[in-house]
């Protein structure tokens, strides 16, 4: 059994914020539990996913492990080093890509940005140049390497961010939403890179709210919601938690609130998750988890949709996915906002 490279035990982080209303009111202090006694272990060479909606605590967890935040409770070790007591050694063992459109020097070229960080990671100049060339080729930025970052598109910045995370060739990589904001082609390229890095034996902690990405890339996934891990296992193990039959996926328009409520009242329906892409036409995607076989339930569902004048563009029946697991465990969709964790 491969050794454990990342160990988190009872990690907790509480933020104190202040609500501000109006010109002169100071506002009320509020404690927000961003990460609530989170524990997990990542084996060497594994791609481990933290899957959850926005505000679930994914970035905070990564920052705790990357020594950018100090935990309020709990402990963690990365590559055998304690994240608080041996922070220097942890930083030598990790490469981190944080989700951000900022974080690069606009008035430096892509190459100069990488060179700068290479030196901060104590990579000697000659080796740094070799490594930079390798990485620019790997991420597909050779042509744009000598342009100022202020001229880069979002996708190019994301690739440069990833290249920076790889500059010190660390055994552990922490990637925070690496494909967010990228076009499908660029996102696929990044996923291919992640697979390549796994083949090289890197241990990767990946955060995402894209369940297909988690399903495709990760050896194991921890589903995190409101700062707590609600389930953990391989994608197949997690899907096995959902004691459901089929899931009907409907793409169309006219997916109103009334329709969703009506579907939820149906006896054959276990849950409904909606993702509205266009509020004007109410078009989007409905995932309808069924309590029984779809052959029995489908006519009822179709009739209900006809009564609510839904224009169906695409309908398919599928097995449960990680999103269905999330819904089953949290009673919400991955894309539905929920209240922040609080004490």
């Amino acid at each position: 059994m491969r050794g454990e490279v990342v160990v988190a035990e009872g990690l907790t982080k509480v933020f104190v914020t202040r609500e501000r209303r109006g010109l002169f009111k100071r506002g009320v202090k509020k404690r927000v539990v961003a990460v609530d006694h989170v524990s997990f272990r990542i084996r060497g060479g594994e791609v481990f996913g933290l899957l959850g909606p926005n505000g679930a605590g994914k970035t905070t967890t990564i920052k705790l492990l990357a020594t950018l935040l100090l935990p309020d409770e709990g402990e963690a070790w990365v590559n055998g080093y304690h994240v608080v007591r041996e922070a220097d050694k942890v930083r030598e063992s990790i490469g981190v890509s944080l989700y951000s459109d900022r974080g690069l020097y606009w008035k430096l070229t892509g190459r100069e940005n990488l060179r700068y960080f290479a030196y901060l990671y104590h990579i000697p100049p000659r080796e740094a140049e070799r490594r930079i060339e390798e990485l620019l080729k790997l991420v597909g930025l050779e042509e744009e390497a000598d342009k100022l970052v202020e001229e880069y598109s979002t996708g190019m910045k994301a690739k440069l961010n990833l290249a920076r995370a790889l500059i010190n060739d660390a055994p552990v990589l922490m990637l925070d939403e690496p494909t967010i904001g990228l076009d499908p082609h660029s996102a696929r390229r990044v996923r291919e890179l992640i697979c390549e890095l796994r083949r090289q034996g890197k241990t990767i902690l990946l955060t995402t709210h894209n369940m297909e990405e988690a399903d495709q890339l990760c050896d194991r996934v921890a589903i995190i919601d409101r700062g707590r891990i609600v389930a953990m296992g391989t994608p197949e193990e997690l899907k096995g938690l959902v004691k459901r039959e089929d899931v009907v996926v409907v793409e169309g328009s006219g997916l109103t609130r009334e329709l969703v409520e009506a579907l939820r009242r149906e006896e054959c329906v276990a849950y409904v998750s909606e993702r509205v892409k266009d509020p004007l036409s109410m078009s989007g995607v409905l995932r309808i988890g069924l309590r029984r076989n779809s052959r029995e339930a489908l006519p009822r569902i179709l009739s209900l949709m006809a009564r609510h004048s839904v224009r169906v563009q695409h309908i398919r029946v599928t097995g449960p996915t990680l999103e269905d697991v999330f819904i089953a465990l949290t009673k919400r969709g991955l894309y539905e906002a929920g209240p922040e964790g609080s004490r």
Binding site: R20, L23, F24, E150
Partner: protein
């Protein structure tokens, strides 16, 4: 008529939104109040202390011979207060468009239905109000401690002149802001303009010591006129309504400067839209 009223109501809403936004920023960075209240005293104190350190007991006598009053500290205090307002207005307004670009909010402002001139022009209200309040709060202790003012009405008129002087100052800042559409780096320009205005507005000396051609340049600056009005009212006890030359010059600047600023803004903004430069930072 209804359309006009509705347009006015909409513009008032936009002005209110801008006012609230600017005031939030002011009030959420309260340390700046300390700077603005102390700035005039620090500058005046610096000149006063240098002068006294170099010339000793004769310092005030020399000052009186050059300037026409022995109230050196108050003389410098008034000029320094106006200098502070000028720097504030030029910086804040000059960087406003650039700040929106950097935050990524410029295009969001542009896609709203708000009248763009009202959107940018409304900035003068909160800044003018804050500036006026700060000048008053800053000068009030010095005036109250016995420097003495013969006519409170002239004080009020002097401050009103200061407020009117904000309009051409705002226009200078607005020209710099509009430059952002062309050059993206307005800080260098504001640095030069601030230095120019600080050097040649006669904040802390009479402009008659400048060469004649430079005096004409100085007289074209709204800050020079405002400083002279305030000094005459607070220090030399001249009646503001008697300073018709100064007041009419200031009124003319209040019309001419905005017209120039508007013309330049329209031209550069139009170019930026055509080139797709609005959101670029």
């Amino acid at each position: 008529m209804r359309r006009v009223l509705r347009a006015l109501a909409n513009n008032a809403l936009v002005a209110r939104a801008v006012f609230m936004r600017e005031m939030m920023y002011w009030l959420r960075y309260p340390l700046w109040f300390l700077t603005f209240l102390s700035f005039p005293y620090l500058i005046s104190g610096l000149f006063y202390s240098i002068g006294c350190a170099v010339s000793g007991e004769d310092a005030i006598r020399y000052f009186s011979e050059r300037v026409g009053t022995d109230r050196a500290f108050l003389y410098n205090l008034i000029g320094s207060a106006v200098m502070m307002i000028a720097i504030l207005m030029i910086e804040d307004v000059g960087h406003s468009i650039r700040a929106e670009q950097l935050r990524g909010t410029l295009e969001y402002n542009y896609v709203t239905a708000a009248n763009k001139l009202v959107l940018w022009g409304s900035v003068v209200l909160p800044h003018g109000l804050m500036s006026l309040s700060l000048v008053f709060a800053s000068l009030a202790p010095a005036l109250a401690l016995g420097f003495g003012v013969s006519n409170p009405l002239d004080v009020a008129l002097g401050l009103l002149a200061l407020f009117v002087g904000m309009v051409p100052l705002f226009s200078i800042g607005f020209i710099v802001a509009a430059l952002t559409f062309r050059f993206k780096e307005p800080w260098a320009v504001t640095n030069v303009i601030k230095a120019f205005i600080s050097a040649f507005s006669g904040f802390n000396y009479p402009i008659t010591i400048l060469p004649l051609w430079l005096q004409w340049v100085s007289r074209a600056l709204p800050t020079t006129v405002v400083t002279e009005i305030l000094r005459d009212a607070l220090l030399f006890n001249r009646r503001v309504h008697a300073m018709t030359h100064h007041v009419s010059l200031l009124a003319f600047m209040g019309i001419a400067y905005p017209l120039v600023a508007l013309g330049l803004y329209r031209r550069w903004e139009g170019e930026a839209r055509r080139r797709g430069e609005l959101g670029k930072y």
